[in-house]
């Protein structure tokens, strides 16, 4: 698949090491995608990396990515300035199951940089609010100054999401929750049979999340997660992102928990 050229239109620094970039295709064509999909993104010759789309799926005229600078490729992307060209392949992967969970209480559970891949589904759920019952966001971060989209959290709350945010540690100025995101589950007063959960964050967090949900009576078959592996080709050819019998770039990154749980339990994978 040949990369397309996208121009950086706008750029915003979210935290000390996270940036949001708005891109537009050189061709002028809109970039249609579904919530949960990702692209293979590159700046200059620094290498190509899989990055989830964090934009609004109903506004395909701009491709939005929120990127954490953690290595050569992502540092180059975060350093890109308006007017610079990036290469984009995609969109790739299976999306969040927005139709399958219609009529449910939808819980979005995000940890750290796991929130950007969930932002498109949050915006889609809000745009189609009448299709769902309760909407609940559980979001955990390291500290208050590392939380993402803090302005939007208030907006989402006004538009129908119950938003519970927690941090690992904080000073006295923080008046929210302190503790891991899994501790929020107990306080969420979930109706087990009505709940569907979509989660993205560190694998360790998602394992603990499923355990906390199970303790509240929520079946793990109602949990969907977004996985990360070493995606390279993006189209299921190279095999670098293999997880058990699946290829994350093609069969994921969104999976029902029971489909990947047995493979996550194998330490060598």
């Amino acid at each position: 698949m040949v990369p397309a050229s996208f121009e950086v239109l706008d750029k915003r620094q979210d935290t000390a090491d996270v940036w949001t970039l708005e891109l537009v295709a050189d061709s002028g064509e809109p970039f249609a995608f579904q919530p949960g999909q990702f692209t293979m993104l590159a700046a200059g010759g620094a290498g190509e990396v899989p990055i989830s789309i964090s934009g609004d799926p109903d506004k395909p005229e701009r491709l939005v990515h929120t990127v954490k600078a953690v290595g050569l490729a992502t540092e180059a992307i975060c350093a890109a300035e308006p007017g610079q060209l990036l290469s984009v392949r995609g969109p790739f992967g299976r999306p969040w199951p927005v139709d399958e969970v219609e009529g449910a209480d939808v819980v979005i559970a995000a940890g750290g940089i796991g929130l950007p891949p969930l932002r498109p589904v949050i915006l889609r759920l809000l745009a189609q609010r009448e299709r769902y019952r309760r909407l609940l966001l559980l979001y955990g971060g390291r500290s208050p100054d590392e939380l993402l989209f803090t302005d939007e959290l208030e907006d989402w709350s006004r538009r129908g999401f119950e938003v519970l945010v927690t941090v690992d540690a904080a000073g006295e100025e923080w008046d929210g929750h302190v503790g891991v995101v899994t501790r929020l589950v107990r306080h969420a007063k979930l109706e087990p049979g009505a709940v569907a959960v979509m989660s993205c964050g560190p694998e360790l967090m998602m394992r603990f999340l499923v355990a906390a949900l199970t303790a509240q009576g929520v079946g793990s078959d109602r949990v969907y997660i977004s996985m990360e592996r070493n995606m390279q080709c993006g189209i299921g050819r190279c095999g670098h992102c293999q997880l058990g019998p699946t290829l994350v770039c093609r069969d994921g990154p969104v999976y029902p928990w029971p489909r990947v749980q047995p493979w996550l339990a194998i330490r060598e994978l």
Binding site: F38, P50, I51, S52, S54, T66, V67, K68, V70, G111, G112, I113, G114, P116, P117, G140, G141, R142, E146, T166, D168, A169, A170, G171, E172, W174, D175, G176, H177, V178, G179, V180, T182, R183, R186, H187, C200, G201, P202, E203, L204, M205, F208, S226, M227, E228, M231, P253
Partner: protein
């Protein structure tokens, strides 16, 4: 108006205790509104009470010299505040502050320890539930200690 034994039965820690046990425990408890900022416990001081939160938030804090207090966990409705009354040397290990106005049920820990000594069935039932609460929060603390968000997750 609900009685204290009915109120404490709402908490996961006390749920499933026998009605007679709840009534027995309630004899050591009282309803108490607490104003925002009230220090419920201070590190190193005698731990003679504990609390069940009905409404509001209590912050557990670590005092660090030269710095503002570090909030390490917040507890909410249904949570129990304080375990140190159960175990020698009966001294608080942390500070605990009402984060806003709270409605609490305050338990006399010395009274309850006495009742557990005189009624071992009650003592075992109560200890089992407190142990489950401790384990749940210990697991959460382990996850917290792993600096889990410091890792690079999913496709971002």
């Amino acid at each position: 108006m609900r009685t204290i034994d009915e109120l404490i039965a709402d908490s996961p820690v006390f749920a499933e205790l026998e009605p007679a046990q709840l009534e027995f425990i309630a004899g050591c408890a009282r309803n108490e509104p607490v104003a925002a900022g009230t220090m419920l416990m201070r590190e190193g001081e005698p731990a003679e009470r504990f609390w069940l939160i009905r409404r509001g938030v209590v912050a557990l804090e670590l005092h660090v010299p030269g710095r503002e207090p570090l909030v390490i966990e917040t507890l909410e409705a249904g949570d129990v505040v304080g375990w140190s009354w159960l175990f020698a040397p009966y001294l608080w290990a942390l500070d605990g502050r009402a984060h806003g106005d709270c409605h609490l049920i305050t338990f006399d820990g010395v009274c309850l320890r006495g009742k557990c000594e005189s009624d071992h069935d009650l003592g075992y039932a109560l200890m089992s539930r407190f142990a489950a609460d401790v384990i749940e929060r210990l697991q959460a603390t382990r996850l917290q200690l792993s600096d889990v968000y410091g890792n690079v997750p999913a496709t971002a």
